[in-house]
């Protein structure tokens, strides 16, 4: 047994040769290696296959009518940009992964291979480049995210994309109450009209005061891209300005018991005139 004398190996790197060729020469030599070229080619192909995913993702998100607000537009833009900017790193990773399966040869069979691979313990250039690339990518994603978050927060507070300033219109306050397993919407400004579907005028900022009578629910207006928990004993807020006519989905996005699956309703975005008519019909007073 070899345990008394385990195989010894040199941990230290061999000395750098003094007559090291110049960097540009080494790079050229490296790029001329067959496997390097093939991996670069493979990365490009995989990258080109990944980028269309950005559109596929948006396509699925839009199947039921999104985007119906500036917030949802920003969300989709973020998905798109994130997919595209992460494509190169993803492509390189997958290219090395696939290439390694056979590209440098492979061994099958029962017994441990006799042939050893090159003893590459590390490579300073590769490490530095990789860390730089991932850090730049992460830094970009963070900055993008922070800016986007500020943007959608201002939209939620009634700003519009054109100048990112409040558009002067008074927001309609809506009190949203979750309760096992229905949503109730109350319009305090319209004379306390109450409804179980959300009817709202287009291009008018909405401001939601969300709460719950029992457990935690989550108010998700799918195609408008807003979501906030409805908590018992607290009021949470969010807002949006719908900019597309139509009927969209409201779903509960927090497990709330027996009929959570059925805790859905619709939001109907209508014209101002239709909205006023609806309010009158419900016995409320006209919007100011």
């Amino acid at each position: 047994m070899s345990i008394d004398n385990p195989p010894t190996i040199e941990v230290d790197q061999p000395e750098e040769p003094t007559n090291r060729p110049a960097a540009d020469h080494r790079l050229k030599e490296w790029l001329s290696r067959g496997y390097v070229r093939r991996i670069i080619a493979l990365s490009i192909v995989i990258g080109l296959l990944i980028i269309p995913l950005a559109w596929v993702v948006i396509h699925f998100m839009n199947l039921s009518g999104a985007p119906a607000s500036a917030i949802m537009v920003e969300i989709e833009r973020t998905m798109f940009v994130f997919t595209v900017v992460s494509a190169p790193l993803m492509a390189i990773t997958l290219a090395i992964l696939f290439y390694s399966l056979t590209g440098w040869g492979r061994v099958t069979g029962e017994d441990p291979p006799m042939q050893e691979s090159p003893a590459i313990r590390t490579n300073g250039t590769a490490v530095v480049l990789w860390i730089a690339a991932t850090s730049i990518l992460a830094g970009f994603l963070v900055i993008w995210g922070l800016v986007e978050l500020a943007t959608i927060t201002s939209y939620a507070n009634g700003s519009t994309p054109a100048n990112q300033q409040p558009n002067g219109q008074k927001a309609i306050d809506i009190n949203v109450t979750g309760q096992q397993w229905v949503w109730t919407f109350q319009y305090p400004d319209q004379g306390a009209v109450t409804s179980d579907t959300l009817i709202v005028p287009i291009n008018v900022p909405l401001y939601f005061n969300v709460t719950s009578k029992d457990v935690v629910h989550d108010f998700w207006v799918v195609e408008l891209g807003i979501k906030i928990d409805a908590n018992p004993g607290a009021i949470t807020n969010t807002g949006v300005t719908p900019d597309k006519l139509g009927t969209f989905n409201i779903r509960c996005a927090e497990l709330c018991g027996l009929h959570h699956a059925y805790m859905q309703t619709k939001i109907q975005v209508v014209t101002q005139a239709e909205f006023d008519a609806w309010v009158r019909e419900m016995g409320g007073k006209r919007t100011v």
Binding site: E10, S86, G233
Partner: protein, 647 residues
């Protein structure tokens, strides 16, 4: 040179007096006495307690509910405590109290000497026995969780009808979730951290062999309260059991709380043991630069478990207290806070993901060098990666609460920390890619798991980047997209790595080779089924399907059908793999002591591994990654020749 915790007979040290036969009372205790005593105690507690706790017939429903809750909690705890007494967990302290020190013969008896297979059913301290017990337990839990997953997917695949009662469906989800979480927490550090790690560092056992047995049997005792849920109304609230929904839950919820409280003790004890063992019991010469990377991974994961698991435990202790003594930590009407619960829960809930992923990743790093016959690429970057992940993952938990409305401006700092974690995570990817680079893989099953896991990590990592972004999460949170994402991390990266580790260390643990053909068929069937299941679940999420629902818009039908087909495929693959494991364990090809030609210490000792692992303790003179030949290109470059015709 530290000595191991197993007592050695040295002639000049007077031995303590032997009281009775070696092992004493432990000769008579086993899982049988434990279960019997536990059940009797539970029944007695219930019977006696129902006279004191529960004001039966009272008109005040709340009071009687609280009484009943207290009764059930007491019953569960009686089971746990008396099971542990019955199996002999407290024999050691009692003997010390009586002044009876452990003799060498006692210690050997407790380590399972000459007890044959029966030692697996006893309070045995040998780390190899504990490791095997953990492996069986993990497989049992995965089987249970997998069965529940099949039922979930059946419901979701039959889009035109409600197959199950919604309450039952909800409890399927909750039970599947928590069972799988527990299974994945133990699936690498349990079997391989216990069985392999001490041998790998050249020790005779763990630092605290009796604590090792304690951690396993606590886990064992924690499972019945969880399983009994299915008969007491189930865990209907998801594995997260958010408040105050959980306080409406049927009585079985107490089982969940008891299980988590006990399981947290089990992981705490196990983590302390693994860390101490790795720090103090390494063979002579195994400096920190020569420690196998798997050991580093286990330390990293244990540190996280040790620090953060208590949060989960507290969250459930407070929840239990709300139930059994009517406190109101989480009851908003009485001044409590649901956000308090959510914070406590996710303080563990997030690091938990890395508790699962890190040891699996480290195991793959350990094995890939063997199959590539190449050194690990940038050992130090790997360590930095683990350290970075451990550090940053402690400060990201609020990304699970972006949409709670708790603190909208917390989105900014926590988005920052969450996205930064991709940098150290990237280190780990770099190490794996660098090791693959120019290697000639020996394409056996363990190695193929490396490829599978890197693929899953790419998918899970990229989708995680979406989710860490607050605006995107505003769409994705609570949707099927999240479910698909975390399955890529937990199952795709965690479970498949555990399969790789199992295939790799199987010969050492059982003395037999895992059937390569059957095992691979099972693995690949499961892998492709997995891509189909969760690939199409991404689509359902993008379309806006919420999670934890049993009925949904027709728009989501197609992706759910595909997902269910994929899930059954996983099920078939896993059954094939399980069959391969069982048949190989019983009658596989004998493996010899080092079938893969590995250089870490566990391969240098005999198989089956003798009771104290090594006849003579090894001395280490290098790290275990001394594979490979000098790079031919270096010679080319040095001569400064034109690199003609190299490939």
């Amino acid at each position: 040179m530290t000595d191991t915790a197993v007592v050695h007979q040295t002639h000049d040290v007077p031995q303590p007096k032997q009281h009775g036969k070696p092992g004493g009372i432990l000769r008579h205790t086993s899982i049988v006495t434990g279960t019997a005593l536990g059940l009797v105690a539970a029944i007695v507690t219930y019977a006696i307690g129902s006279h004191f706790f529960v004001p039966w017939g009272t008109t005040n429903a709340d009071a009687s509910q609280v009484g009943l809750n207290a009764l059930v909690a007491a019953t569960y705890f009686a089971w746990v405590i008396f099971f542990m007494i019955g199996i002999g967990a407290f024999a050691g302290p009692i003997r010390w109290a009586l002044g009876h020190d452990l003799t060498h013969d006692d210690a050997e008896y407790m380590a399972g000497k000459d007890q044959g297979k029966w030692r697996y059913w006893k309070y045995t301290t040998d780390h190899k026995v504990v490791g095997t017990q953990y492996l069986i337990m993990a497989m049992f839990l995965l089987g249970l969780g997998g069965l529940l997953a099949m039922l979930i997917r059946t419901e979701l695949g039959i889009t035109w009808a409600e197959v199950f009662d919604p309450n039952f469906y909800n409890s399927l989800i909750g039970t599947h979730g928590i069972v799988m979480i527990i299974a994945l927490i133990i699936v690498v550090t349990g079997p391989f951290g216990n069985f392999i790690l001490p041998i790998m560092i050249g020790a005779r056992d763990m630092a605290f062999p009796r604590l090792n047995a304690l951690s396993f049997w606590l886990l064992f005792a924690a499972i019945p309260p969880l399983a009994s849920n299915l008969f007491l109304g189930g865990i209907r609230d998801g594995w997260t059991v958010y408040q105050p929904l959980a306080s409406q839950a049927p009585i079985g919820m107490i089982g969940y709380q008891v299980t988590i409280i006990v399981f947290a003790f089990s992981t705490g004890v196990a983590s302390v043991n693994l860390i101490t063992t790795s720090v103090t019991m390494r063979a002579r010469g195994m400096t920190w630069n020569r420690v196998p990377i798997f050991v580093i991974g286990v330390i990293a994961s244990s540190v996280m478990g040790l620090v953060w698991f208590p949060m989960f435990q507290y969250s459930q202790m407070l929840a239990l207290s709300d139930k059994v003594i009517a406190t109101s930590f989480y009851n908003p009407i009485m001044g409590g806070s649901v956000w308090l619960y959510e914070n406590l829960f996710w303080l563990l809930g997030h690091p938990e993901v890395y508790v699962v992923v890190i040891p699996g990743t480290a195991a793959l790093m350990e094995l890939m060098v063997v199959f590539l016959r190449k050194p690990l690429f940038s050992y130090k970057v790997a360590i930095a990666g683990f350290a970075g992940v451990v550090g940053i993952s402690s400060i990201v938990w609020v990304h699970h609460m972006y949409m709670t409305g708790w603190a909208p401006s917390a989105g900014y700092p926590f988005m920052l920390s969450t996205e930064l974690i991709s940098i150290p995570f990237g280190f780990l990817v770099l190490v794996m890619l660098g090791t693959l680079w120019r290697g000639k893989p020996w394409t056996r099953l363990p190695m193929m798991c490396v490829y599978a896991v890197i693929w899953d990590k790419v998918v899970g990592g990229i989708t995680g980047v979406y989710l860490s972004d607050v605006p995107v999460d505003q769409y994705m949170h609570g949707s099927m997209f999240v479910v698909a994402h975390f399955h890529y991390m937990l199952m795709g990266a965690g479970l498949f790595a555990a399969i790789g580790a199992t295939a790799y260390w199987f010969p050492k643990m059982t003395g037999r080779m895992l059937d390569e053909r059957l095992g691979s068929i099972g693995f690949w069937v499961a892998f492709f089924g997995f891509q189909l299941t969760f690939g199409s679940m991404f689509v359902a999420g993008l379309q806006g399907m919420p999670r934890r629902v049993l009925q949904f818009d027709n728009a989501f039908n197609i992706s759910n059908w595909l997902s269910t087909v994929g899930a059954y495929t996983i099920g078939i693959g896993m059954l094939i793999f399980l069959y391969a494991v069982i048949t190989s364990w019983r009658s596989g090809k004998p493996s010899g002591s080092n079938p893969w030609g590995g250089k870490t210490l566990e391969w240098q000792t005999e198989t089956p591994v003798p009771l104290e692992n090594f006849p003579v303790l090894p001395v280490v003179t290098s790290d275990p990654y001394g594979y490979g030949v000098p790079d031919p290109y270096d010679a080319v470059l040095e001569a400064d020749k034109q690199p003609a015709g190299v490939a």
